[in-house]
Amino acid sequence: MNKTEKKNKIKHTGKKNRDLTLMSLPAIIWYICFCYIPMFGIFFAFKRFTPKPGESLFTNLFVNSPWAGLDNFSFLLRSSDMPGIMFNTLTYNLLFIILGIVIPVFLAVFLTELHSEKLKGTIQMVMVLPYFLSWVIVGYLLYAFLATDEGMMNHFLTVFGKDAIQWYQSPKYWRFLLIVTEVWKSSGYAMIIYLCSITSIDRTLYESAVLDGATFLQRVRYITLPHLRPTICTIFILRIGSILNSDFGLFFQVPLDSGSLQSVTQTLDVYVYKALMQQANFSFSAAASFLQSIVGFILLMITNSIIRHIDEESSLI
């Protein structure tokens, strides 16, 4: 290759890189505006935010607001609601992680074996439908069952001679109700993820297992589940990483923001929203967000490295 040819080639790849960069640029600008600029917001958590009207956000945050050290965090963690909020967030999330893996895997394993492809397809489609409804809609669906005067549940209760229940005033039922609602909404979608993965298993493996006399459960135990392990681990790691996050809609909109249910519906995300929008307490809200992010990140890294030690292929990073 002589010199000019080489030069041309470099020029050529240079132009190619430039074109590709031009194509990437719009999305990169979006990421800067809506993901990276807001990252400066972690400073809200370490400042006592005292904005002066008429000045820009950054002047207000960096110049006009004094440093608060870890004060926001210690106030936040010492507030009397916090133990309950943390307890709710963690227990709901742990239950959702476990149920969100066990139930869909169970369904997928048993659905795969149905003979009729058509029936399988229809069942999947019906079961994934709730996933695409918003929490607002889900809230109304639940309301049709639980409304005090006309609701289906109270109608049944009175028909059987029992007293009607004020559902939206009775916290004791709501842990169960929220768990059922979450399982109803998300199981179908997760089931399809596992179904897709099961379809990619070579069926001849099963056939030879049958020849060796393996029962159905043995085939599930030794062929299907090991094949699903990487998918399950990926989902598990990601869910652990968002263990302090919760579905705002489920805990705010589905109980219709009922004050008497707060003890069982208040999670960290609901707190972050209320601190921001109803009390305008920016610093507390930001401190809570920061905790969510940093705790989630650390847990994700720890879980990932544990899983990598056990089985390298199943780890996320």
């Binding site: 979006w30 990276y36 990252m39 439908l129 409804l133 289906m152 085939r219 998918t231 921001l276």
Partner: protein
């Protein structure tokens, strides 16, 4: 040759012979799953039935799957109630379509660039896209930046812009571009003097239609269901911007507006069905498009899940 094809097919589909279920077992399991699917569907069916129940029936037997009488009063009332509902419907459609198109315009070219192995900035950009998945500034700061730096409060842009891109969608697109579009095809086009812009629009996009549809489906459903941005960025003086979902969040206030509109339109007191009935009709109006589109979109959803599972 034919035999090979047969065995390849039997790998994909379960035949009565290869299934673990015997004939009776299959019938039992099918019945079980049909029952389960029915239970999952029950709440949606209930709301549809409520929306066409007569007021008298609701007073008598409450919300029931077997109402005593039917009536379309609540529907008639809503469609007569003037511009408010129509406006919010149009808002929802507009936000969905605009968000989807803009999102694709940003994500597809980037995904194409990332699918090119010789692209110099491929690795740094991948890292740049991964970081926001692990770490975000949180609600307060994105709220403050969106309202005070970009001044998005009470605009359509507040409902559209923050949801345009997602690293996960970009990965799906890139995986598909990488695995299904032969590198030799792109090289041949380059030898013919095509630049990347031409290759992308003339060759890649037409081949990649299925995966572009997949991402569209996810985005369309996401924008159609979105209500949280409205809760954050729209205040009660801007009801003309409300999408359907947010009208439902704000229903108590909205019912008043509806009644005022209806009275204004007809110039007198009109029949008003119970507020709850009107809500149920609106819930049906929101659910119906999803139910109608899902069967058509379903195969694209599955493409997405299969392609999305490929790891780097």
């Amino acid at each position: 040759m034919k035999k090979e094809k047969d065995s390849a097919e039997s790998n994909q589909y379960i035949t009565p012979q290869s299934s673990a279920y015997s004939k009776t077992m299959n019938i039992m399991m099918s019945a079980g799953f049909v029952l389960l699917a029915f239970i999952v569907f029950l709440p949606i069916l209930l709301v549809v039935v409520i929306s066409v129940s007569s007021e008298a029936s609701v007073r008598e037997v409450g919300y029931s799957l077997f109402p005593r009488g039917f009536s379309l009063d609540a529907y008639r009332y809503l469609f007569r109630s003037g511009n408010y509902l129509l406006r919010s419907f149009v808002n929802s459609v507009f936000i969905t379509v605009a968000g989807n198109i803009l999102g694709l315009m940003l994500m597809c070219p980037l995904a194409y660039a990332l699918s090119q192995k010789e692209y110099k900035f491929r690795k740094p950009i991948l890292l740049f896209l991964m970081i926001p998945m692990l770490f975000s500034g949180g609600l307060v700061s994105s709220y403050m930046v969106n309202t005070q730096v970009f001044h998005l409060k009470n605009t359509y842009l507040a409902l559209i812009l923050p949801g345009l891109c997602s690293t996960w969608y970009i990965m799906i697109l890139r995986n598909y571009f990488q695995t299904t579009i032969p590198g030799s095809l792109i090289e041949a086009a380059q030898l013919d003097g095509c630049g990347h812009f031409q290759i992308f629009t003339m060759i890649v996009l037409p081949i990649a239609k299925p995966v572009v549809m997949t991402v569209s489906v996810f985005q369309i459903f996401a924008y159609w269901s979105s209500w949280y941005p409205s809760l954050l960025y729209l205040d009660s003086n801007h009801t003309e911007l409300y999408p359907l979902q947010y009208v439902l969040v704000n229903m108590d206030r909205s019912i008043q507006t509806l009644i005022r509109d209806a009275q204004y339109m007809s110039g007198m007191d009109v029949y008003t069905p119970p507020a709850v009935m009107v809500r149920m009709v609106m819930v049906v109006i929101v659910i119906l498009p999803v139910m109608i589109l899902l069967p058509f979109f379903y195969k694209f959803l599955k493409t997405g899940m299969t392609v999305g599972a490929i790891k780097e």
